[in-house]
């Protein structure tokens, strides 16, 4: 007879819940004994997770032209959150790639970009809202199209942060992974079409316990006349926190200090 303190049976693909090992399809190089969970997020959809310090999130486009908008909050003190201007000016950058650190308004590293096959992710924070969605694509509601309805990135993120008591005034500028928006000499946005091919990959390591909310709705500057959001594979795994020789820690002195500030809260 099972005792109350028996360890639970190890997770296997035979367990009686519908949690397939999706990661084997799009991130087969991950160490199986350290994968926490994996998901395939359909285009246009939204979800949220709390990522522990020392975990990583592998994000993989499963179709060309995907966009994944993410907002980040310190899981225990949600007044502390990703800050776009602080992160950009500290690293003198207007794009993100491997080496960059996503910093909070409290000067701490929330997450670091540890791997990237794309080279440019958009930090300028634009989100598709309901008004722009309807103006650009027309209406496609649940009533007529069931779960093929059009969903905006802004509403998706508002739903997710609402699950944690955060309101519309708490919705911050997101990072738009897999999207490139350059700025020309006049200051104008230049959206790069066909930026991320299918199979493009970027990975975050979480340097603090972090609440993330994501949406796979299209980027608002995507010129495609059709609402065609793309699906993205996600795999969370345990890597441990940044060590002394960490690439991000050595990328810039500002990154080292932001990681130091995060380390100081986990002594």
């Amino acid at each position: 007879m099972a005792q109350p303190f028996d360890a639970p049976a190890p997770l296997t693909s035979n367990q009686p819940v519908d949690a397939p090992a999706f990661w084997q399809r799009f991130a087969p190089d991950l160490p199986a004994d350290r994968v926490m969970w994996s998901e395939i997020v359909p285009g246009g959809c939204h979800w949220s997770w709390v990522m522990p310090r020392g975990s990583r999130l592998r994000m993989v486009t499963l179709e060309a032209g995907a966009n994944l908008s993410m907002v980040l909050y310190h899981a225990r003190e949600k007044l502390e959150r990703y800050n776009m201007p602080d992160s950009l000016k500290a690293q003198h950058t207007a794009h993100y790639t491997r080496g960059h650190v996503l910093m909070s308004d409290m000067g701490r590293a929330l997450a670091s970009i540890t791997a990237d096959t794309v080279g440019w992710h958009d930090p300028l924070g634009a989100l598709l809202d309901a008004e722009r969605l309807h103006a650009k694509y027309g209406d496609q509601t649940f009533h007529t199209h069931r779960n093929g309805m059009f969903r905006s990135g802004k509403d998706g993120l508002l739903i997710e942060i609402g699950k944690y008591g955060l309101a519309r005034r708490d919705l911050i500028a997101p990072v738009n992974f897999f999207t490139k928006v350059a700025v020309d000499a006049e200051g104008r946005f230049q959206f790069a079409p066909e930026h991320a091919p299918a199979g493009a990959m970027v990975e975050l390591r979480f340097d603090m316990d972090t609440l993330i909310a994501i949406s796979t709705a299209p980027h608002p500057l995507d010129p495609s006349p059709a609402y065609a959001p793309r699906k993205v594979g996600l795999a969370a795994w345990k890597s441990g926190p940044a060590d002394a020789h960490d690439f991000n820690r050595r990328f810039r002195p500002e990154c080292a200090r932001a990681l130091h500030n995060a380390d100081m809260t986990y002594l």
């Binding site: 201007p85 000016k89 207007a94 000067g107 701490r108 722009r132 005034r169 200051g187 500057l221």
Partner: protein, 221 residues
């Protein structure tokens, strides 16, 4: 208007007719209400001072200035004559109607003790900062606004170009003594200002200086 190059536009308004005329020393916060239809002028009295401003809808303080909605709506990053400052609800808050400086930043944010530790050195954290200014103004006002409402702001008179390869640069200012920007309120506005006390950044020649705020009532045309 979508182009975001420098657009110089002078104003016909007479300071003698202003209903508010306030000089704010460097390093000070300022909280001011003004009404839809009124025009605000901010003057860079001595040149290359950063005036860090967040705007709120005075009728619904949960609606705030949105740097990202503003950039998205105009299709570019720089603010100058013709730029419409948008809210988090996608509504016009203010329109820049005159500008003798020609370029203002909304990507660089406001300095904080914590961000100073990252940008400069851990031991800089006890220096005065814009976000300390914001917080003390909001604490004294006690109107339900707090740190969560300290969203990415406008840095009037700051020049923060983005290069074609995606670098953020802090260029010499394009402002100078007496240059000003004027904004017409498209809704009732609560304005939160920090006249930036940053001493670690060469963009103000390490010398924060005063700024002047004037408000005119709606003009009869």
């Amino acid at each position: 208007m979508t182009a975001t190059a420098i657009r110089i536009q002078e104003s016909p308004l007479d300071p003698a007719q202003a209903v508010v005329n306030q000089v704010l020393p460097s390093g000070e916060p300022y909280l001011l209400h003004f009404k839809q239809g009124q025009t605000l002028r901010i003057v860079d009295l001595e040149g290359n001072q950063a005036v860090d401003v967040i705007f709120y809808n005075a009728q619904d303080l949960a609606e705030h200035y949105s740097a990202t909605d503003t950039m998205l709506a105009q299709g570019g990053i720089y603010l100058t004559t013709g730029s419409v400052l948008m809210s988090s609800e996608g509504r016009p808050m203010l329109t820049i109607v005159a500008d003798t400086c020609g370029r203002h930043d909304t990507l660089g944010g406001a300095c904080a003790a914590e961000s100073n530790t990252v940008r400069y050195a851990l031991q800089k954290k006890y220096m005065h900062s814009c976000r300390d200014n914001y917080l003390i103004a909001l604490q004294h006002a006690d109107i339900g606004l707090g740190k969560r409402d300290l969203v990415p702001n406008v840095n009037f008179f700051m020049n923060v170009p983005v290069t074609a390869d995606g670098q953020l640069t802090f260029a010499d200012g394009v402002s100078g003594p007496g240059k000003y920007v004027e904004l017409r309120a498209e809704m009732d506005i609560l304005m939160l200002v920090s006249n930036c006390p940053q001493l670690n950044n060469p963009c103000n020649a390490y010398n924060p200086t005063p700024a002047q705020f004037l408000v005119w009532d709606a003009q009869d045309v």
